[in-house]
């Protein structure tokens, strides 16, 4: 068996010069230090993305994106299609885990200040992908057309509607009309399976290209560490195999979640029913949702909700632009102030998510 494999390998190598690629990868080194663990979260996010692509394509084989059939088709997938329950549960669980790992990845980059020069563009593409992920979550949530998703989408789109001037057109654009209807479903379905994946793939390509060109970011303190103490490991095979090991474990966790906690379907959405109590968005929107609840209805002469939405928009933008205003990081300095902001944001998100969860 071995000679055959070797022969095939040689045949391919002769034509594609795989040896060069391996040499290139082997030349890549991953710094080894006390925070090395965070390097794995980028990779695992990539892995989860591929799971989403595969399970998503599989779901497309049976899903029907219309008001009459969306709910029924998911029910059909869950009950009639062999392993449909597994594919659907995997897709739902992976979506949530994906956003979690992407957020961990983002915050680790933030605190390691890995966004500093020359990696501003890597940060930008990463952040845009995170926003797209939230978009995936939002659009995908409605697709089963169940009661909870229906009303959460109603509330979610309503919030965008409060933004002055552009809010109303955006709202109509997202809903495909004035209300959440079958038109909204078709629209969000289109976004979920065509528009967002397209943009996401482009950004992902750029992101990976940048990482490959620039290599792994080293922690700030490496500047003062003597060369011989800067421990590293080769990207290939050491780091890649470790990545694979981690992915394997994550896949197993996902399988366990899918079998023991199958994703619920709930009851079919009825646009004429009154909203059930305790409508909540997905957990990654909870902190914003909860904040908006606490903002008083009127601050000076501005509507409280408008202010909240605008504030979140501004905060998101500032966060996106951090490589450009945190100039000291590029000079290799760690500014306490930026760390405190980051810490505050993390605490804020965790606290409000918990409050929102318990409420």
């Amino acid at each position: 068996m071995k000679p055959t494999l070797k022969k095939i390998y040689d045949w391919v190598d002769e034509r594609l010069e795989l040896q060069d690629l391996i040499k290139f990868m082997a030349k890549k080194y991953v710094p080894v230090h006390s925070h090395s663990i965070w390097y794995y979260f980028g990779g695992v996010s990539l892995f989860l993305f591929t799971i989403q692509v595969v399970t998503g394509i599989l779901l497309l084989m049976y899903y029907k994106g219309s008001e009459e059939l969306a709910f029924e088709s998911i029910q059909f997938i869950m009950s009639k299609v062999a392993f449909g329950w597994l594919i659907r549960s995997l897709h739902s669980w992976t979506a949530n885990l994906f956003i979690l790992t992407a957020m961990i990845h983002m915050f680790s980059v933030f605190f390691e200040k890995a966004y500093r020069k020359p990696r501003e563009l890597t940060w930008l593409t990463g952040m845009l992908m995170l926003f797209l992920l939230l978009g995936f979550g939002f659009t995908g949530y409605l697709l089963p057309w169940n009661e909870l998703a229906f009303f959460a989408t109603k509330v979610g789109t309503e919030i965008t509607g409060v933004v002055p001037i552009v809010g109303k057109p955006i709202l109509q654009f997202m809903r495909g009309g004035d209300d959440v209807t079958g038109a909204t479903l078709s629209r969000l379905f289109g976004f979920h399976v065509a528009v967002l994946p397209g943009i996401f793939t482009l950004l992902l390509g750029a992101h990976l290209l940048f990482v490959n060109r620039q290599g792994m970011s080293e922690p700030l303190h490496y500047a003062e560490t003597p060369e011989k103490d800067r421990k590293t490991m080769p990207f290939f095979p050491n780091f890649l195999l470790r990545d694979l090991l981690f992915w394997l474990i994550v896949l197993n966790v996902l399988a366990i979640l899918a079998v023991f906690f199958p994703w619920e379907l709930g009851t079919k959405a009825d646009p004429f029913a009154s909203a059930p109590a305790g409508i909540k968005p997905e957990w990654y929107f909870l902190f914003m949702f909860q904040t908006l609840k606490y903002i008083p209805a009127q601050i000076w002469f501005i509507d409280g909700e408008v202010l909240g939405v605008l504030a979140f928009g501004a905060a998101g933008f500032l966060w996106l632009m951090v490589p450009f205003w945190d100039r000291q990081s590029s000079a290799g300095e760690s500014k306490r102030f930026v760390n405190y902001i980051g810490l505050f944001v993390v605490m804020y998100i965790i606290l409000f998510t918990i409050i929102g969860w318990l409420a």
């Binding site: 595969v54 599989l58 059939l69 029924e72 029910q75 062999a82 392993f83 449909g84 594919i87």
Partner: protein, 151 residues
Amino acid sequence: MSDIPDPHVQQDKRDFLKFALFGGLFAWLAAVIFPVLSYLKPPKQAEVIVNSVKAGKIADFANDSGSIIKFGNKPVILIRNPQGEFKAFSAVCTHLECTVQYKKDLGMIWCACHNGKYDLNGRNVSGPPPRPLDEFRVTVQGEEVSISKKS
């Protein structure tokens, strides 16, 4: 670690490890591919909702007879009247959900549970049924008789 490695043992270990690695990989691939392939295999019921079912050939149904056809998870009664025309109704009695049948001597749809009777237009004419039976559409294409939901 300080021992001089015995090349023999090393060889065995490597072989076993390689075996475990490749074996595991193939088993894993099988564990992934099997569900995916099963998923892609068309399920017994090909469509999300049963909108129509094939009842059979015209010749299968004698004049002045009725037969129960499974429509999704509900029974439907297909009636062929003495003139040879087809009609189909939900076979679920509107009283206590028994399955109705065609009673030739009465020329009516009859429920055995409480003697509910419906005429051949599905209207409840006697007995306890409070409502008429829901009607289904019958389409005859060539020799093939099929039943579909009335929209």
